[in-house]
């Protein structure tokens, strides 16, 4: 049997609202294997971000089971979920979320600082990551001095630098033009092919959807289809 990276079983997520609760995810059952290049696709408000947040243990499910790399997300202590994120997960957001006071090198180095390794190894890993995204000449720049496309490449390098098992990318191309979007998608696809890292996207961008090997459609918090794309 294939080893599963993520297993979601009858997971629901409710948000409290003024008059009761809003069910953003309804008994979602899904699993992801190693080396996936999958996307959760659906209109705005369909629950893509919520699902990604639960997988990333940034949020907890209201019911059901979510297992990420052997961690039971609903039962994790704050410390354990920090450990899951720092050791095994990479995040890429629509708004890049780089640390503004750090330069490119320092931003990419950051996840490794949390892992406590010797500085030589760290330096090599940071340089490797910057090479993957083609930013070796910008190491000293601050995020404010970079274009959106460059910022997102730094964010990818930061997500990838520790070679995590799983990268969660929430609308990574939403703020980018076509050229930059395709560039980062190529980069991620290469990383996926070379390192075997699993990618799960949340997106409604057709450019991204074309790249996906697997498309999971979400409507109003429910999985309506889950298809493999051979053309990608």
């Amino acid at each position: 049997m294939e080893t599963k990276t993520v297993t979601i079983t009858k997971m629901s997520k409710a948000f409290p609202t003024g008059e009761g609760e809003f069910l953003a995810l309804k008994e979602v059952t899904l699993d992801f294997g190693a080396g996936e290049f999958a996307g959760i696709v659906g209109p705005s408000g369909s629950g893509k971000t919520t699902l990604l947040n639960v997988i990333g243990s940034l949020d907890t499910p209201s019911s059901g089971e979510v297992d990420v790399l052997g961690y039971k997300v609903s039962q994790l202590s704050a410390k354990q979920s920090s450990e899951l994120r720092s050791h095994h997960l990479g995040f890429i957001f629509q708004t890049y979320n780089l640390l503004p006071v750090y330069n490119v090198y320092e931003n990419v180095e950051f996840p490794l600082l949390l892992l406590k390794m010797d500085s030589q190894k760290r330096d090599r890993m940071v340089k490797d990551a910057l090479e993957w995204v083609g930013l070796t000449d910008k190491t000293k720049s601050r995020p404010a001095q970079l274009s959106g496309g460059q910022c997102q490449r730094v964010a990818i390098a930061r997500a990838m630098v520790k070679k995590p098992s799983l990268v969660l990318a929430d609308e990574p191309t939403a703020n980018l033009d076509t050229e930059n979007s395709l560039h980062i998608l190529d980069t991620m696809k290469n990383i996926n092919a070379n390192l075997g890292t699993s990618f799960i996207f949340a997106t409604h961008d057709q450019k991204v959807i074309k790249y996906l090997r697997r498309v999971i459609r979400l409507v109003d918090g429910e999985v309506v289809s889950d298809d493999l794309q051979t053309g990608a």
């Binding site: 949020d59 920090s82 994120r85 995040f91 979320n97 640390l99 006071v101 750090y102 320092e106 949390l114």
Partner: protein
């Protein structure tokens, strides 16, 4: 790791960090300066008081109560036999006090006349000119302050009336031979100094004294049952208390300054938590624990203090050096009516106190930095990532 990150944040914060460090450094410099001033003054006052008045100890006649004017007339006691040889050798200086009335230039003033052996070498009080001549007026010494109130100067002759041991008034003529610049006001204000034997003669007294000033500490153990030993601690109790009172009076200003510095840090930190909410969410998403984030921001604030301490020592050094070598003179020779303030005060620095101040300030800064950071613990990662204010 946390340290490295906190340091990066400070450097990355640019001018805002510099302003904070500047404010705290200014407060630290003022604190150190003020502490040094009070401390130096206390040290100087004690040194001078020892040189001019106290030496290594004092035996005071039990008949003398400094707070009871009626006791002053009979405030003396016989010098015990065991003490006499030390008086002979000059190691113990007997001083006799007597309330008197003086008539300078036709006016009438009460004064304390004090007799001290003209030849004494224990105290710096310039008594050497007091040795009486065969005839003519008795030489007298007064301080600058007394000279001002009595309008007496060197060479002036005036009458002094004092009660003798039998209770009868005796009048003698005195002539000012010297006006001294005493750093100890109590030796000056309302006091006339004459030779001990001359005063005894005028009062028909023999071997008696009001106080016995000891040259060496070892003399504190001489047997003098009619005298009470005044230790250094007792002697300087009032001075210490006064310095404390004055220093505490000043501390209001300081608390205000410290408050200002802490406000700057608190403000920076609170603003940082508010503005860097999304960043904090990202730190958490990257796997930093809440404890690590809290520690990082707290350390960031506390590091301001470390930099400020270094800055204040480096920037303040010329100032500290200047006051240590050139001294601090109060403008226009303001008379504080207390010891030691009439000449430039050369600063000595109370290192333990300064160190304690720095440590306390460090703890305070760390605490103030931590206050706004606490909120992080209550923040959910998803909410922080949104960057909004709906915590």
């Amino acid at each position: 790791m946390i340290f490295k990150l906190a340091l990066r944040n400070i450097i990355g914060n640019g001018w805002r960090s510099l302003i904070n460090i500047g404010i705290i450094a200014a407060v630290l410099i003022s604190l150190i300066w003020m502490e040094a001033m009070w401390y130096s003054w206390l040290v100087l006052a004690k040194t001078q008081q020892k040189q001019w008045e106290f030496a290594s100890g004092m035996l005071r006649s039990k008949n003398y109560d400094p707070y009871d004017t009626f006791s002053w007339e009979k405030s003396y006691a016989p010098i015990p036999a065991e003490v006499l040889p030390h008086v002979e050798s000059g190691d113990i200086v007997p001083i006799l006090y007597a309330p008197s009335v003086i008539y300078p230039g036709g006016r009438q003033l009460s004064a304390m006349v004090k007799g001290i052996p003209a030849g004494q070498k224990v105290l710096e009080l310039p008594s050497s000119g007091l040795a009486p001549s065969e005839d003519g007026p008795i030489p007298a010494l007064i301080g600058k302050n007394m000279a001002r109130t009595t309008k007496l100067g060197i060479g002036d002759v005036f009458t002094l009336r004092v009660k003798d041991s039998a209770g009868a008034f005796n009048a003698v003529d005195l002539q000012i031979t010297d006006v001294m610049d005493s750093p100890v006001p109590s030796l000056d204000i309302g006091t006339v100094w004459v030779d001990l034997s001359a005063l005894r003669e005028a009062r028909l007294l023999t071997d008696v004294a009001t106080v016995l000033v000891l040259k060496e500490k070892s003399l504190q153990s001489v047997s003098a049952p009619q005298y009470e030993l005044i230790t250094e601690k007792e002697f300087f109790a009032d001075l210490n208390e006064m310095v404390m009172t004055k220093a505490v009076g000043q501390s209001v200003l300081f608390l205000l300054m410290i408050f200002l510095a802490m406000l700057a840090i608190f403000d920076t930190q609170a603003l940082a938590i508010f503005k860097r909410r999304k960043e904090i969410g990202m730190l958490s998403a990257l796997g930093m624990t809440k404890g690590q984030i809290t520690r990082m921001f707290t350390l960031e604030g506390a590091l301001y203090m470390v930099f400020a301490a270094i800055a204040s020592l480096v920037l303040g050094f010329p100032l500290f050096w200047y006051f240590a070598t050139k001294g601090f003179a109060l403008p226009g020779g303001v008379d504080f009516g207390v010891v030691g303030f009439d000449r430039p005060l050369k600063f000595v620095y109370p290192l333990p106190l300064i160190l304690l101040t720095l440590v306390l300030m460090f703890i305070l800064t760390a605490f103030v930095s931590w206050l706004p950071v606490r909120k992080i613990a209550a923040l959910k990662t998803v909410d922080a990532l949104k960057g909004g204010t709906n915590a």
